[in-house]
């Protein structure tokens, strides 16, 4: 399918009802996907997604769209590989061109210990279903001839892991395809509708208060990205989340094709080429938490410096745009999905800088939880209760920056 064959998306915007079986707070990818899978997999359509701004206006429309499964712990590899596979068929399933493109991602190592880590990553990935191999510098050069293997004389490339099925997809189109698919089956999406409080009866959530009036609900699911702490507080819950800004930027059009996604474990930057030919780059979160969307020059300078060290051709390009999203960072760099100690209140959070790739699987699994009331086995390890149990799902080296 291509842009010419594709018709415009069909959105419908009905008037809000007083009551729904399920109210999902947040119209980012995770909220829309849960609605989509509730409708398509479980026939549950008396559902509303409430979005205080416009759908995809949060991180789901600000990210660098990298989809990969090269995580470091078994539960995560299995989960992200499942999500990666759902993305592979999402175009056929929704009939919408989400511009899914398989590219492969290279994670460069620059030291003996880094090399051992990438070998271990490849092994654990293969053991749990993700297609990752270890590459020598010569093999890396075949995948990405632009790399300076000496790393500017400072960061020599000694090897790397290569997750061959890694891909990118157009973020807006993913959000729209899921929204449209849900709406077509009767789900309501209400934009410009902010949740300002939760309606409670004892330890049970019975609905939401919005700036347009109260709406009652059998189940309320939170999918509000970096703003989750204040939403959870409305239910009297404290979360282990810190909200940190993450920035990214694109250059002008690079005339040649740059196929793979390239990242460095030491230099902490990553780069890919957009469908328009722009080089898209990101790096680590801002060091202090903040809800501020301002981008800064320090980030641009330090990220560009590191990227040009490995990929000298980037020096000839110019920066076009820079932007920021605010991310829900968890202490163990793993997501938090499932039930909470408050009845009828479910959350999907802790998506930090890496949750775009998880949109289909998180949506599918949360929908199953809502439909059945039982936590699916795949997401059980990621429950919020793990912190009180002191059972972390530590995977910082894999969550990285994208």
């Amino acid at each position: 399918m291509n842009e010419f064959q594709e018709k415009l998306v069909h959105f419908t915007w009905p008037e809000p009802k007083k009551s729904y079986d399920v109210v999902i707070v947040g119209g980012g990818g995770h909220g829309l996907a849960a609605a989509y899978y509730l409708a398509t997999r479980h026939g549950i359509t008396n559902v509303a997604v409430l979005e205080r701004n416009y759908i995809g206006g949060g991180n789901s429309g600000r990210n660098t769209t990298i989809i990969r499964a090269n995580y470091g712990i078994p539960e995560a590899v299995r989960f992200y590989q499942h999500s990666l596979e759902l993305y592979q068929t999402l175009e056929a399933e929704t009939g919408r061109w989400i511009m899914h493109q398989e590219k492969g991602i290279l994670w460069m190592a620059h030291s003996e210990i880094g090399m051992q880590q990438q070998k271990a990553r490849a092994a654990i990935n293969r053991a749990f279903g993700a297609k990752t191999e270890f590459l020598t510098p010569e093999e890396i050069l075949k995948v990405c001839p632009e790399i300076d293997l000496t790393g500017g004389g400072v960061w020599p490339v000694v090897g790397g892991s290569y997750n061959t099925e890694a891909a990118t997809a157009r973020h807006d189109r993913v959000n729209w395809a899921l929204a449209e698919g849900a709406m077509m089956r009767g789900v309501h999406v209400h934009q410009k509708t902010a949740v300002t409080g939760l309606l409670m009866e004892g330890n049970r959530v019975t609905g939401v208060q919005t700036d347009k009036g109260p709406i009652s609900a059998g189940i309320v699911m939170s999918a509000v990205g970096g703003h989750v702490t204040s939403l959870a507080a409305m239910a009297g819950l404290r979360l282990p989340i810190r909200t940190h800004p993450l920035q990214a930027f694109v250059t002008n059009h690079y005339a040649r094709t740059f196929h793979p996604i390239v990242a460095s474990t030491n230099l902490l930057f990553y780069v890919s080429q957009t469908a328009r030919g722009e080089m898209l780059m990101g790096a680590e979160i801002d060091p202090q938490p903040s809800y501020n969307y301002r981008s800064d020059h320090h980030f641009l300078q330090s990220c560009a410096f590191r990227a040009t060290t490995l990929l000298p051709f980037l020096r000839d390009l110019r920066v076009l745009r820079q932007w920021t999203g605010v991310c829900d960072m968890s202490p163990d760099y793993s997501p938090i999905m499932g039930k909470t100690s408050v009845d009828g209140f479910y959350i999907t959070t802790g998506w930090g800088t890496w949750g775009f790739k998880a949109i289909p699987a998180s949506g599918e699994q949360m929908a199953q939880l809502i439909a059945t009331g039982e936590t699916p086995e795949m997401i059980a390890p990621f429950a919020l209760s793990r912190f009180a149990e002191d059972r972390l799902m530590a995977d910082r080296g894999s969550a990285g920056t994208h």
Binding site: S290, Y291, N292
Partner: protein, 92 residues
């Protein structure tokens, strides 16, 4: 850029400092603190959208740890000052 006023060195770019986390006093009576309270202290955060009290360390400067009150929505720093034990935190 965030400007921070080090109580020793004066107004500097925040890149000279290391952020040290939101102000989160350790439970005053460890032996009477339940597992749930410890878990809350270690993992849970207020993560305030608004004026937050937080630690900073003047890494590329005088080496001082101090407190700041910063609006996390605007990054405006309202005030910085040295830590002093609150009356109720003393004496254990």
């Amino acid at each position: 850029m965030i400007l921070l006023n080090c109580p020793n060195c004066g107004q500097r770019n925040s890149l000279e400092f290391r952020y040290g986390g939101e102000y989160n006093p350790r439970p005053a009576k460890p032996l009477e603190t339940s597992d749930a309270q410890w878990a809350d202290y270690i993992y849970m955060r207020t993560n305030k959208s608004g004026v937050q009290k937080e630690w900073w360390y003047h890494r590329a400067g005088c080496g001082l740890w101090f407190l700041a009150e910063r609006d996390t929505r605007s990054n405006e720093v309202m005030q910085t000052y040295l830590w002093e034990p609150a009356a109720k935190e003393v004496g254990d």
